[in-house]
Each structure stands twice: as C-alpha cells, then as structure tokens.
Assembly symmetry: C2
Homo-oligomer: 241 residues x 2
Amino acid sequence: MSTAKLSKLNKKQPVNAYEVIRRRIVSLEYAPGISLDEKSLVDELGLSRTPVREALIRLAGEGLIELEKNKGAKVSELNLQTLQTIFEAGDLIERAYTRLACLRRTDDDLASINEARLEFERDLNNQDVAAMVHSNTEFHLRIAAASGNKYFLESYRRILADHERIAQIWYSDIFRSDDRSANQKICRQHDELYQAIEQGDTDRAEAISIAHAHACKEGIRSSLSSGESLIADLNVQTEEY
Amino acid sequence: MSTAKLSKLNKKQPVNAYEVIRRRIVSLEYAPGISLDEKSLVDELGLSRTPVREALIRLAGEGLIELEKNKGAKVSELNLQTLQTIFEAGDLIERAYTRLACLRRTDDDLASINEARLEFERDLNNQDVAAMVHSNTEFHLRIAAASGNKYFLESYRRILADHERIAQIWYSDIFRSDDRSANQKICRQHDELYQAIEQGDTDRAEAISIAHAHACKEGIRSSLSSGESLIADLNVQTEEY
DNA sequence: TTGATTTAAATTGTATACATCAAGTATATT
DNA sequence: AATATACTTGATGTATACAATTTAAATCAA
C-alpha cells in the first residue's frame, strides 16, 4: 500500500457521533432494545463523552433511542404494534402532504424530489440496501417538504425514522429472494408519484401514495412471514400481523 | 422571617435548565427570533454550560429553538404562515387521534384526561394564563396518548409546542377583554369532548374537536386583530390572515 | 474616506475531571 | 440460612478547562 493511500486513510476525518450512531440504529447494527452505554460508544467512536451525549439527546428527540435519567440509553423497541401505528399514522399524513405538495410545490421542490428519485434508482441498481433506505427516505421527505407545512414534514420524518429500520429488513429480503418485480414496482410508483405532483394532479397523487403504502405494507408482511428474513431483529410474532 | 422559612427558601432546589428555558419560550418571555447565547443562560440559571447546552439540544428537537453550527441558538419564529400550518396540520391530526381515542381509551386514559380537564378549569378560574396554557396542552395530549398511536401523539406534541405560544397571547386577551363567554365555551367543549370519548362516540367527538379547533382559530383571529393584543410578539400583519 | 487584511475578543465545540446516583457484592446480625 | 446494611464499583450528571470557529474591531493601503 502506498504511503499516500495510507495517509489518506489515516487522515482522521471528523467523526460525527450523531450520524454514526443513527446509521447503526437504522441499519439494525444496534438492535432494537439494546442498551447503549456512553463508555462503549466513546471507545468505539474515539470521541469524548460530550459529543456522544449530545448525539444521544438528539436521537432521543427523534425517538430512535430512549433516555432514562441516571440509567442511560436504549435503542427504541420495534414491534408489531409499532408497525401498525406506523402505517396508521403514515397513511394519513402521507396523503395529506402529498395533496398539498401537488398544490404548492415549486420548481426547486420538483428538482429536489426528482434528484432523490434518481438516486434511489441508482442505489437499487447497486443493490446498496443502506443507501436505498436513505434515498427512499429523502424522496418522501422532499415531497413532504414541498407541502409547505413543516408539521407534516416533521411528523413524517419521525415516522420514517422508525420505518427506515423496517425498510432495511424489507430491502434485504428483496435482494435475498431476487424479487425483480418488487424493485420495479417501487421505482414505477416513485416515478408516477413524481409525475402526478409535477402535474398538480392531487387525486392521482393521493391514489398512488395509497397504493405505494399498500405495496410497502404487503412487502413487509411477506418479508416478515418468510422464514429467511431477519425477522429475529423484530422479535415479533408474524401471526398477529 | 423565621430561619426555618429562610432556609427553605435558600435551599437551592435543582434548577432544570430544560424546563426553565422552555417555559420562558412558551410564555413569550423569550420572544420569537431572539438569539440565546449560552453564557447569558448560564449566568441567569446558575448552571454550567453542559446542562444548558443539553437543554438547548432537546428544545431544538422539539422545534422551539433552532441551532446553527458554531452560531448558537435562536428562538423559532412565529409568523402567520406558522399559524396557518398549525391549523392545517392540527385539524387533521386532531381529528385522527380523537377518533382513535374513542375506540381505544382505557379507564386510566379517561381518568387522566378528566384530571387535565378539571385542572384547566381551576387554572381558568385562577386567571393563571401560563397554567392554563399548560393544562390545556395536557388535556389534548392525553387524548392523543389515548389514541394508542405514539406518532399521532408526538406529532401533536410538536404542533402544541408552537400553539402554546399563541395560546399565551389568546388567553391573555380573553382576560384583558374580560370575555366570559369565551372561557365558558372552551370549558364546555372540553367537557363535551371528554364525554364523547368516554361514550366512544367517534363522530360526535370528531365534530366537537372540529368545532373546538374552529373556535380556537376564531378566538386567535379576533385576538390578533384587536389593537390591545400582544400582537407585536408575533411580528405579523393581521390583514393577511 | 473607503476597502481589504489582520488581529483580538467572544462564542461555540470538545475533552476531561469531579460529583452524584444506581446496582451489585460482601459482611454482619438475627 | 436469610435478611438487612454497608461498601464497592460502575455509570451518569455536572462543572470546568482547552481548542476551534466566528465575529468584531483595528490597522493599513489605496
């Protein structure tokens, strides 16, 4: 290995405690329910307790971890009830901001949405699950942002935070079972949704949004009921869903 | 003054930076838009920077302040667009969790809701605006909690955080103009809403919820258009609303 | 005077030391 | 042996010292 390469690798780029911990939670590297003690995180990240603590407080604000006074942090649970409530609230809020986005989106909004849509397609072709989770989130968040209502945006961001952990499982299973139709369906719906918003067709956008959520729900359901899935991560009984 | 009393007063009770700063923002003591530098807060609260910084991070998570890297914190703005988006998102989410609360509320939920309802009546009789703001928030949050959907709960908590600052103005104006009918209306709607939830009457609960939100909207509108109001705090033009 | 550049002050970000709290272990007493 | 108390240990909460960044002030040149 050349020294140049080495120095580049050794060059300590600023580690963002929040980003790193968040990614590990979303990617299920930190399983739901496990406790996160500051010392371990400090040792792993090579930072002091201050930025780690501040990251934990931010993450608690997002609902990804739970803090208990004098008792540290634990990764938020993810169970079947979580799934049901995600879809219950998600369906409603998604429809609301999607309709508003049709009415209020600017050209910049459209460009931003389309950028995320294309990024998702690239990530899917690269079979990069973590990147897909992120770009899918971005795609939907940018539509929510185009609604012009920050409360819908933030509400949906909260929902997507938990949804990301589920999507991680689902996408993994899609590639594991090599389900090309599932991939195509997601991309097609993203494309149709983008076009409907571009054309300001509120009813069509809402209908696509509902269909997209439904497909997502079905995909996750089959993913959970397939024996090969990472269902253990959810520590749930699929029968109840 | 007896020494016993003095020692009691002097006994430094633990100051919670988060609670104190939040209260000051909600009560508009810290006006929307002003910058909050750590040093001032540390001097005022008599705490070190650590708990103050952690409080600011929490408050930023709630949307009450905005943090910019290396540039400190400022209290979130509150303008007419905020008002419109609050009601836009609030109407929808309120109706959703109210219906769910009718279907899912436990006896404990009912007791909890009623407790907050009575607390609000007491605070109103005491003409304690800050306490009213708090107990009104509690009343609605406990209904949201009874929905059994944490995303609706947290979404509405976010909306109420900003709503509290507006309610502060509105309630103040109610007492300033000595509008007894407005007070009675709020309490009556709270009572009717509670009863509808108790009886599991989803349609009626939703209808009352809509009427309550409408009355709230109208009250704030008249409060803003009255010259005596604390409208300056909102730095807005009422004509646009 | 105006403008840009440098320098100094103030503010925020990070690291670490100290204080407090919780839980587990050991010892003593019944 | 069982329970209770005290102690030890580990972790979290707070305070403070140090580093890096931003803002302003001051100096100099045009």
